[in-house]
């Protein structure tokens, strides 16, 4: 998030697009609902599902899956046409040529044209653009509904375009706010868990960076960026990749096209999995290393608003399980490196020393409130809102984003849109949440289908449905609801009994290499 | 069944109020009426969604007000017998007995054929014409066993008989009851013929401040019970807040023993309407509400018709008046509870401050005045403050309606100047029936007085205070020696326990505990300790005043007085 959670209440208008907030980020949804019932904020929801948050919205619009670029371009078209853009912000803070390019791109996205693509009625788009465009401060909130597309980068750029156009960057309550889905997904990115960067997004292959890191670590480093995971799976499938070391992840549930993923892992010479349970992925491993959970360790997580917060060890791990860092240290020393960390805090101090955005942080300073990065010096208060006054890179870049269809569209054989995501009661691959009998009793595998589709295929609520795509079939219970439009089906991906990712398409965004979990074509049948 | 026409009606209701949530109560009532007088869970949920509130809110409202049949099922004819104090004093329990035997059911039950449900209910605001049986929306007053026989047989044939109207009244002042007894007294023509709307004409030419000054100079004190000077209250409104100002007429007449406001609304509605239009001008309000207790359904209709007539006759160019029906809750007579009720909520008092004049309905400055107060305004404007002050005496000015019920020969409503002696009033009401044991002179919530205390009593604020009681709403209940005070005490506290809104702990649990203690005493199982506990509770609540609203003192004061003045009747219960 460019902005912080507390500042949510400063939004005059909030736009939620591609986030089932009350299911996936319940506490943030509570903050937004508070602002709504207190009369501070008006909400716009754009989502193919009529999510719970739609009940609180001034306007709810249902777009066809995968048409976000068209919708946002359409909003910008109307905002420009009516002069609701923030002219001063654009003049002061945006590269003029990129603004011109954007302007000419959105020219053709009239409400009528957008209606044809997205299914959102022209009149409704006009209302949305007016409410959003006239707002003093509008915040934009999204999750994987924006990113998990072959046009994921296009979608993200569109959200940034919109927020720059309306001058909503660098102000409390504004911003582009991806709601991060996992406890430390932000931290994993910040700490160099990416193939192209070291900690704090210092780029691999840049001479100065290579030099700095080699010196700091006293090691010779590879200057070639690595492969993203999705590509690595393909390479493993092809036999090019020989070994995988997987820590605390379960791609055998979370990867697209699981048949493909399983074949890839089985094709490896050597697979190591470090985890807390014998996950679906661990079962395929050659060596499994037992690690500890959040309750058993000290360390830090960085949350969705870039706030670094301390975890305190509460319990002893079971048996001979070890902290992940202890395992890494044992391996490092076995491989001839000379590591000697005594505790997590010592590692954190090393992180601060090498990571500019964390440089001013220490456990003492984090205390019980934490700090937002960037926090470059020991007296810096942290940065709840990014891009105040100026962008890190100087002038902001807008992108002219043309609309593209998703990789796989419904056709005669597979006539229904399939989209996937989360539900409140479970988390990600279920490694943690599915161990709770209580949570399991509250929610099990299902497919959400519309009343019309249910009638068409002749199933009632809780009856079995077969969902088939070009990649596979699952059978699961129907959840028949008015909240999903005719022609769209929704499957939560937490359940090994009916894994949504047997069905999903592993077509990737060309830049981010993110798979298109949110759109593919399926057919529904009575089982 | 909620069909399209009802959805349309609910949509209309939502548009009628400044905030849509206010439509909840009338919408729930619509749904109930369309479903043989029962409110189903499904309908509650649907209404909630249509109005835009949570289903919990709808349920909370539906189970707060006694007129919604949300968790009880009632038959085609719901016979509701008022058994409050005045009714009890006038034979209501015999009516209940008779109905139980006749219908073969107990109170609270429904006949097997689903035709009749028999309930006992609290004060129906019909104390002068007790016993009263309310059948669905209709009051059948002055009931006797013979009349019951013909009522039941008519209902068995599916016919709601025409109700008989036969009230006693008398007036020495000829203001508030001036048109009482005239043919077509409710029509605007009659009203204008007898000099109505002249005050409005005069007021239209006055500055708002001049109207307020006149009312202030009249020194009229609020006729609802608290006796706060109306003109002073108006002066509390903050200036230039940018928010609308609302005028609310409190017509939730529910204090047992009180049935005076109804006389004005039922027989001379334009007097109130004119009073409201003038008062609204004085306080710069464009929207007024009449909050009328739900049981007075037909009177609400009369008021709506009068408002319509006034509009047609161009009397209401700057103001609209909405008649909002309550649904059975005594506490809504408290002004903040009343405001909550108009907002579509459970009618529970708010914390004060802020006071309504600063932050009232929908958070806006609001003035709440009683019917009788507002109905006195046309006289004050037309004839002037001095003419008003010619009635009564200093600090106790003007004319006043007194409702007299219980053991008198001609129970009814009588209009006299403030300060009229108690004895003279009783004389006007035909004298005491039987031997006078005691009287409660200001509605149920004031301390009871013994005959020796009544001798020199004048009916005004100061004299009542001097005699250790209160003028309250001017509802006089006369008690003859046929009745036991502990039993009346139980009946009294049962009323308050039934009506306690349940918001604050001392009232909610205190009233309930007093009921339990008195029941124990009356059942002959009590000890001296129980009487001590009883006194401890009422003394603490009365002396310390620890409840959220005046209801705590409203029950603590009378019970305390009953124990103190008739202690031997209580101690005699201990075996």
């Amino acid at each position: 998030m460019t902005n912080d959670i507390k500042g949510l209440k400063d939004s005059d208008v909030a736009l939620i697009i591609g986030s089932d907030t009350s299911e996936a980020h319940p506490v943030i949804s509570a903050r937004i609902k508070q602002a709504i019932i207190e009369g501070r904020t008006k909400l716009i929801v754009i989502d193919p599902k009529e999510i719970k948050m739609a009940d609180y919205a001034e306007i709810y619009a249902c777009q066809r899956p995968g048409t976000d670029v068209a919708v946002i371009n359409g909003m910008m078209h109307l905002i420009l046409k009516n002069g609701w853009e923030d002219k001063e912000f654009i003049k002061e803070r945006v590269e003029p040529e990129t603004f011109e390019a954007l302007k000419s791109e959105v020219e053709k996205f009239t409400p009528e044209y957008v209606e044809k693509i997205s299914g959102i009625p022209a009149a409704q788009l006009i209302d949305i653009a007016e409410l959003f465009g006239k707002a003093k401060v509008a915040g934009l909130y999204y999750a994987m509904g924006i990113t998990q597309h072959t046009t994921g980068v296009d979608n993200v750029r569109s959200t940034a375009n919109l927020q720059m156009l309306c001058g909503n960057m660098g102000v409390s309550g504004g911003g582009v706010n991806p709601l991060r889905g996992q406890s430390n997904v932000q931290g994993a990115c910040d700490l160099g868990g990416l193939p192209v960067v070291y900690t704090g997004y210092q780029k691999v292959g840049v001479d100065a960076v290579q030099e700095k890191m080699e010196k700091f670590w006293n090691a010779k480093l590879n200057n070639k960026p690595g492969y993203p995971m999705t590509v690595a799976f393909d390479k493993a499938f092809d036999g090019e990749m020989k070994a995988f070391y997987i820590m605390g992840e379960n791609p055998m549930i979370s990867d697209p096209d699981l048949h493909h993923a399983e074949a890839a892992l089985n094709n490896l010479d050597f697979l190591v999995v470090e985890d807390i349970f014998m996950t679906e992925t661990a079962k395929l491993a050659d060596v499994v290393l037992p690690a500890t959970t959040y309750a058993e360790k000290t360390g830090t997580f960085t949350n969705t608003e870039r706030r670094v917060q301390i975890l305190n060890e509460a319990l002893c791990g079971p048996g001979e399980s070890k902290h992940d860092w202890e395992i890494h240290q044992m391996l490092a020393n076995k491989m001839g490196l000379n590591w000697n960390y005594k505790c997590a805090e010592e590692i954190f101090n090393e992180i601060a020393a090498v990571t500019p955005s964390y440089a001013g942080m220490s456990y003492a300073r984090l205390g019980n409130q934490g700090l937002h990065w960037p926090c470059p010096t020991e007296d810096h208060p942290g940065t709840p809102v990014l891009h105040v006054g100026k962008f890190a890179k100087g002038l902001g870049t807008m992108f002219a984003v043309p609309f593209k269809d998703p990789a796989e569209m419904p056709d005669e054989e597979y006539p229904t849109y399939l989209t996937t995501g989360r539900i409140l009661q479970h988390f990600h691959t279920g490694t943690m949440s599915r161990k709770s009998e209580g949570l399991n009793r509250l929610a099990g595998p299902h497919v959400m289908i519309s009343v019309e589709d249910a009638e068409r295929i002749g199933v009632g609520n809780s009856e079995d449905v077969k969902v088939t795509t070009r990649r596979g079939t699952i059978t699961t219970k129907a959840f028949v609801t008015k909240r999903i439009p005719n022609g769209t089906a929704y499957v939560p991906f937490h359940f090994w009994e009916a894994p949504a990712n047997i069905l999903t398409n592993n077509a990737l965004d060309p830049i981010a290499k993110i798979p298109e979990y949110k759109v593919c074509a399926c057919k529904l049948e009575k089982a | 069944m909620i069909d399209q026409s009802m959805i349309d009606k609910i949509t209309e209701l939502k548009a009628k109020y400044p905030k849509k949530e206010s439509a909840l109560m009338p919408a729930l009532m619509l749904a109930q009426k369309a479903n043989s007088n029962n409110l189903s869970e499904e309908d509650m949920e649907k209404v909630a969604a249509l109005v835009g509130v949570t289903s919990g809110k709808a349920f909370g409202v539906a189970t707060y007000y006694s007129m919604y049949n949300a968790v009880k099922n009632v038959g085609k004819y719901h016979l509701q017998v008022d058994t409050n104090i005045p009714a009890t004093l006038m034979g209501a329990l015999k009516i209940v007995d008779y109905l139980e035997k006749k219908l073969g059911i107990k109170e609270g039950e429904t006949t097997k054929d689903g035709l009749f449900t028999l309930s006992t209910v609290e004060c129906l605001g019909s104390c002068g014409t007790c016993p009263v049986v309310q059948v669905n929306d209709v009051y059948y007053e002055n009931m006797t066993t013979e009349k019951l026989d013909s009522l039941i047989s008519s209902l068995q044939e599916g016919v709601m008989p025409v109700k008989e109207v036969n009230y006693n009244f008398g007036t020495e002042c000829n203001v508030l009851l001036k048109n009482r007894g005239l043919e077509n007294s409710t029509s605007i023509d009659t009203y204008i013929q007898t000099g109505g709307y002249k005050a409005l004409e005069k007021a239209m030419a006055m500055e708002p401040q001049a109207i307020t000054n006149e009312v202030r100079n009249s020194a009229i004190r609020g006729r609802g019970g608290a006796g706060f000077p109306a003109g002073v209250k108006w002066g509390f409104l903050p200036k230039n807040t940018g928010k609308p100002i609302y005028l609310i007429c409190n017509a939730d007449e529910g204090e047992p023993g009180t049935f005076k406001d109804r006389q004005i609304m039922e027989y001379d509605p334009h007097l109130l309407v004119e009073g409201m239009i003038i008062s609204a001008k004085a306080i710069d309000s464009n929207l007024g509400f009449i909050y009328i207790r739900g049981e007075f359904e037909w009177i609400a209709d009369i008021l709506e018709k009068a408002i319509e007539e006034a509009k047609v006759n161009n009397k209401m160019s700057d103001i609209d008046i909405i008649v909002h029906r309550g649904a059975g809750a005594y506490v809504c007579g408290e002004e903040t509870a009343l405001i909550e009720s108009i907002e579509g909520k459970r009618g529970q008092p708010r914390m004060k401050p802020p006071f309504p004049a600063v932050e009232g309905l929908y958070g806006c400055p609001t003035i709440v005045n009683n019917v009788e107060t507002l109905a006195s305004v046309p006289f004050i404007i037309d004839k002037g403050a001095e003419a008003f002050k010619a009635f009564g005496y200093e600090n106790n000015t003007g004319f006043k309606l007194f409702g007299i019920s219980g053991a008198v020969n001609k129970p009814g409503v009588y209009e006299y100047p403030m300060g009229i002696s108690f004895n003279k009033l009783i004389e006007a009401a035909g004298g005491v029936k039987g031997n006078l044991k005691a009287a409660i002179v200001g509605g149920l919530s004031v301390p009871i007085l013994k005959p020796e205390e009544l001798n020199n009593l004048n009916m005004d604020y100061d004299s009542c205070i001097k005699h250790g009681t209160g003028l309250g709403s001017g509802g006089i209940m006369v008690i003859s020696d046929e009745f036991s005070i502990p039993e009346l005490a139980l009946r009294t506290i049962q009323f308050y326990a039934h009506e306690s809104c349940g918001k604050c702990a001392p009232c909610k649990e205190g009233s309930h505990t007093i009921v339990m203690i008195l029941k124990k005493l009356l059942a002959g199982h009590g000890t001296i300790k129980d009487i001590a506990k009883l006194e401890e509770i009422v003394n603490t609540i009365n002396n310390v005043g620890s409840t959220l609203c005046p209801t705590g003192q409203a029950f603590a004061m009378p019970i305390k007085a009953m124990i103190e003045k008739f202690r031997d009747e209580f101690t005699r219960l201990i075996k």
Partner: protein, 351 residues
């Protein structure tokens, strides 16, 4: 500004109410409906005090401080009124402290203790309301409910799930779920905010019942392991059994201000689950066998070394984790980059 409470001059800020100043200065005034998060309700009437120049007793939760205000919290009339209220509450419910889960953490118990009420004296009727145990994680015992309204305010205004409300009237007043449905059949999402804010034993975390009183447990503040909001939570730990008994949200935390979701509050079974991995495992002939750390580490290190030497470092891929700490992601990528010599490191940020 300065105000005086019980003869002591105290610092107060404009906008504070009398109760807040008392609490901040360690002066106890019984209060059962007021809670910092939901504000004053004026319902319980237990927080009454005497204030010079004001008629009758005042609820300290609702009176804003004024310069030089003089407050008395221990006057006889104050204690008399407080005693009546607390006695009535104790009398009208089944507050069986001996077995109540909330004992030692109960605000009604604290008030009774302060006022020296040994046993309720107003018990005249039967108390027999149905206990609702239908919900997976939360037990509702209306026999212990004092109608303070905190849960209703919290459900409607804090977490804004809008399930709880008050139904019925007077002594019959009860908290209801939607249209008085059983909790499990209601729209409740079991976030547990109501249980966290309940001052008595009426709303209780079901799975913690009988596992230890709150004061017997150690409290450790940490961060929720589920989504990316980073809710701060307290783990209430039984040291003897090395188990989490209960989880509560950290009030005042900038991320969640005490709020949690059903997973964060109740979904902690996995930590102490019997299926946890407790020892390294090595697969032989398709079967896992237990191994020592030394053997496992030796095997992994030698395999990685030989693959790197034979096929090159870039044929090894590492997946970091969005569920482990910053420190552990750091050591992991450092190991991969310096030990193996590849930048093939990624995690499932996209999945």
């Amino acid at each position: 500004m300065q105000i005086t409470i019980n003869g002591k001059s105290l610092e107060a800020k404009k906008g504070q109410n009398v109760l807040q100043v008392a609490i901040a200065n360690g002066i106890y005034i019984p209060h059962l409906c007021y809670h910092e998060k939901v504000g004053a309700a004026g319902k319980c009437r237990a927080c009454v005090v005497e204030i010079e120049g004001m008629r009758g007793l005042q609820t300290s939760c609702s009176v804003p401080v004024r310069e030089d205000m003089v407050v008395e919290t221990k006057a006889d009339t104050v204690l008399q009124a407080q005693r009546l209220v607390v006695d009535l509450m104790l009398s009208s419910g089944k507050h069986d402290c001996l077995s109540c889960e909330q004992s030692g953490h109960c605000e009604l118990q604290d008030a009774a203790y302060y006022l020296g009420i040994e046993r309720p004296t107003c018990q005249y009727g039967d108390i027999n309301r149905e206990v609702d145990e239908t919900s997976e994680f939360i037990k509702i015992d209306r026999n212990k409910c004092i109608s303070c309204g905190r849960c209703v305010a919290a459900c409607n205004n804090t977490v804004v799930n809008q399930v709880l409300d008050f139904g019925y009237r007077g002594h019959d007043t009860e908290i209801v779920f939607n249209t008085d449905k059983k909790m499990a059949e209601s729209t409740c999402v079991q976030c547990g905010e109501c249980s966290q804010i309940c001052p008595v034993g009426a709303i209780i975390d079901k799975h913690a019942i009988g596992l230890g009183r709150l004061w017997e447990l150690d409290k450790v503040e940490t961060v929720c392991p589920y989504c990316g909001v980073g809710c701060k939570l307290n783990l209430h730990i039984d040291r003897k059994s090395n188990k989490i008994v209960k989880v509560s949200g950290v009030e005042g935390s900038p991320t969640n201000d005490g709020m949690l979701c059903v997973k964060g509050r109740y979904g902690f079974d996995f930590v102490g689950h019997e299926d946890r991995l407790t020892t390294p495992l090595i697969k032989e002939d398709g079967q896992f066998r237990e191994a020592s750390w030394e053997e496992a580490i030796e095997l992994v290190a030698s395999k990685f070394t030989s693959i790197r030497d034979e096929y090159g470092a870039d044929t090894i891929m590492a997946l970091a984790s969005a569920k482990v700490t910053n420190e552990e992601n750091y050591t992991f990528q450092k190991l991969i980059r310096t030990g193996i010599g590849t930048n093939n490191i990624d995690h499932c940020a996209r999945l």
